[in-house]
Symmetry: C2
Subunit: 457 residues, 2 copies
């Protein structure tokens, strides 16, 4: 144990500290596997006071802190590879309160998203942010990355559901931000600044989440579509005539993989694009939309779920994609453009990929209604791991340039972390990045909070 760590143990005698190699490895990395975990130690505070104590100690000894949630991130935002102290919220994972009038749930940052869902459901309400990692990810990490997912088209991102936040800044101050108020016009909204700040300004130590009513009964449709333009028109039609809860697309290559992994293909012939959409139950209108789209040639085939089991099977075609690709350890990226720009962007990417990387197995899927596309590339068998990684770096570089030209973003919902840091300037101007650096210095004068993530100091 280093001298400074021994002092931390003396200073906070009840703080749980771990330094075993297995813990350093476990807590030092996230779902990216690019960096070798090498934290100084793992601190598992049990209270806000302990978090403040840790930050004071870290400032005194100039030790870097990596805030740590469920570490399901894909951008390396929670990686500790340079002797940082990982501050894990695994022990601060409780529901602290529920207010039936304000419809808010107050929680500690280490609570899993799924536990938030269950607590809300227990009160007849819903916390509507949802995505695949729900069982492992923690609400503190969701806030740090402004997590999105499959319901953003109706409910927005995490940001929209944060009624109040307690944070400890890099300077060690405990701030109570917004305190659950609906309206509060009293200067800069620091709550919104912390949402999406990736642990670089401070640590989220408590959150008050707004809840809402669960949706009415929903139904699920699957469409097969001949072209991207048709897909955009079907989106317009569905959005206008149905109350959408989700509108997700994927390509034929995605369907290929998810079917190879065991899902059932309801179609006999292949189509370039597919859509799964969930909407407030309205069988008549849904059938009318489907028939209109079929007659107009916008869709070539379709299925409306007739049971919950069939709805789940249709969703499986979209939600099973990531898992079906996992064994290939594919290249992944998560980008966004304005919704109207999706077809042009995909065209430009298709030109690039066909010309430069003709043997890449490219899988697209994502949230059309948010302009958010996920790209996965499976390594061709004849290409070595090293060559594949090198080629994918050039894909990212070129995609960043295409995104820049299309007014898009190199990170829709995964965050910047370490993985996308080299490409931040494709989405944010030099002036913006300089201002972000200046703001970080205000909140974190000694630069101890997750240094090297988002941007270099």
């Amino acid at each position: 144990m280093t001298a400074s760590l021994a002092e931390l143990a003396r200073y906070l005698p009840h703080l749980v500290l771990r330094t075993e190699p297995g813990d350093l490895e476990h807590y030092g990395r996230d779902w990216t596997r690019r960096w070798t975990p090498a934290p100084l130690a793992i601190a598992l505070p049990g209270s806000i006071d302990e978090v403040q104590g840790i930050v004071r100690w870290a400032n005194a000894h100039r030790v870097a802190i990596v805030p740590s949630g469920g570490r399901t991130g894909l951008s390396g935002g929670a990686v500790a590879a340079h002797g940082e102290l990982v501050v894990s919220f695994d022990r601060m994972n409780k529901v602290l309160g529920f207010d039936a009038v304000d419809r808010t749930l107050t929680v500690q940052p280490g609570i899993a998203l799924q536990a938030v869902h269950e607590a809300a459901r227990g009160h007849g309400l819903m916390y509507p942010v949802d995505f695949g990692a729900r069982g492992s990810c923690q609400i503190g990490g969701n806030i740090a990355t402004n997590a999105g997912g499959i319901r953003v088209i109706r409910y927005g991102n995490t940001r929209q559901w944060i009624a109040g936040l307690k944070v400890v800044t890099g300077g060690g101050e405990l701030l109570e931000l917004n305190r659950g108020l609906v309206k509060n016009a009293t200067g800069y909204d620091l709550r919104h600044l912390f949402v999406g700040s990736e642990g670089t300004l401070g640590l989220v130590v408590e959150a008050t989440l707004a809840l809402t009513e669960p949706p009415p009964p929903c139904n699920v449709m699957l469409f097969a579509l001949p072209a991207m333009d048709a897909l955009m028109r079907v989106f317009g039609e569905c959005r206008r005539r149905l109350k959408l809860e989700a509108f997700e697309f994927f390509t034929d290559r995605a369907l290929h993989h998810v079917v190879a992994h065991g899902a059932q293909n309801p179609f006999e012939t292949a189509s370039p694009y597919y859509v799964v959409t969930e909407f407030h139950e309205n069988e008549t209108e849904a059938l009318a939309v489907f028939e209109h789209c079929l007659e107009s040639g916008l869709v070539t085939d379709g299925v409306i779920a007739q049971s919950d089991a069939q709805a789940a099977a249709l969703w499986k075609l979209r939600e099973g994609i990531t898992e079906s690709l996992a064994k290939y350890r594919p290249y992944k990226n998560d980008i966004s453009v304005r919704i109207a720009v999706v077809p042009d962007f995909l065209d430009a990417m298709q030109v690039l990929l066909t010309r430069e990387y003709p043997d890449f197995d490219v899988v697209w899927f994502g949230h059309i209604g948010d302009g958010n596309l996920h790209i996965n590339v499976v390594k061709p068998a004849h290409v070595s791991d090293a060559d594949f990684i090198a080629q994918c770096e050039t894909v990212t570089k070129r995609m960043a340039a295409i995104l820049h030209a299309h007014g898009g973003s190199i990170s829709a919902e995964h965050g910047i972390g370490l993985v996308k840091k080299p490409y931040l300037a494709s989405a944010r101007s030099e002036a913006e990045i300089a201002l972000m650096r200046g703001m970080k210095r205000v909140f974190d004068p000694h630069g101890i909070m997750n240094p090297g993530k988002l941007f270099d100091p």
Copy 2:
């Protein structure tokens, strides 16, 4: 003309500059009437380039800038009383574009809120932020104060509808923030920082507004209620069973004034509280709610509008309050607490007012579903103007303390400006205010942007 102003005229030869006394008076003040307007001059830029030029000149000459919209503010945020250059956006008031797929409207900052409503309606969509000053207020000012209004309960504040912002910082940089993206996880969200910053960080020079579908046909109900606790229970019932577009309350004193001003009182006997609620048309359920509330003694009387004219007449009882009081030039304040805390807060205020200011005519109304209450006090005839103003200052001071104890905010939607600056510390901690000062220095290194508003440098 001062030497520096002459240089501005030379530097930007097409800039419209006004220095006539009538203009200085007109553009130097807002709806508050406490300060004597004394700006240096009024600049009316016609382009973003001109705005940037003004900011460069202002930095070089250390001239303070007051950004100016419709000046309908009630907190003095747009007052220019110390030789500032007022930058009015009256000439930058156009719709620049509409995107049907993204459902966004791009506008210049000087466009009136009502013109935004009309432009959205022209495309079959709705910009849902709405309040009484719609004809005069400008969208740039709405953004600078995160304006709220009567539809927040369903649609949220202005913040929620800003898909992109172009701003010129105090340092003179043009930033394009978020560019209309739905998802964009690329670091600190500067767009949200500018929303509600009251012109202290820079000038909003363009906004991309998200639009939504208009609501289905709505109906309006008016309730008479015996007590605040009953009102909160009726709110819970209505929110659970109806799709609320608005839920507004007012007191018997408010009804007295609005009826004296010409509105029609539909009730024969007086009640302490009244509620106007608008909801998605559902006559059966609305009647069931009403009957349940009547049987439980939660309401003592009620009306459901049977025509658009009757709906308008019911709304008039709430929306006509401010106008009915205008001739008295009442003391006004706009505060918020968590929704659940409204009854306790009102009790505490009632104790204070009854004990210390027994002859004050106190009128409460506001947005219960947002925890946002407006207080108006009419001067008793026997009290002098000066005494009344002095007494009202002590009311504000004591109310700020009561708000602080109840976790509330001294400004729900009017902003801090000059009027509430002495009370900012009741809603935000010293640490938060210090961080806000630090952030201002990052965006506005020479302190030229609306100095003295929100907080002192």
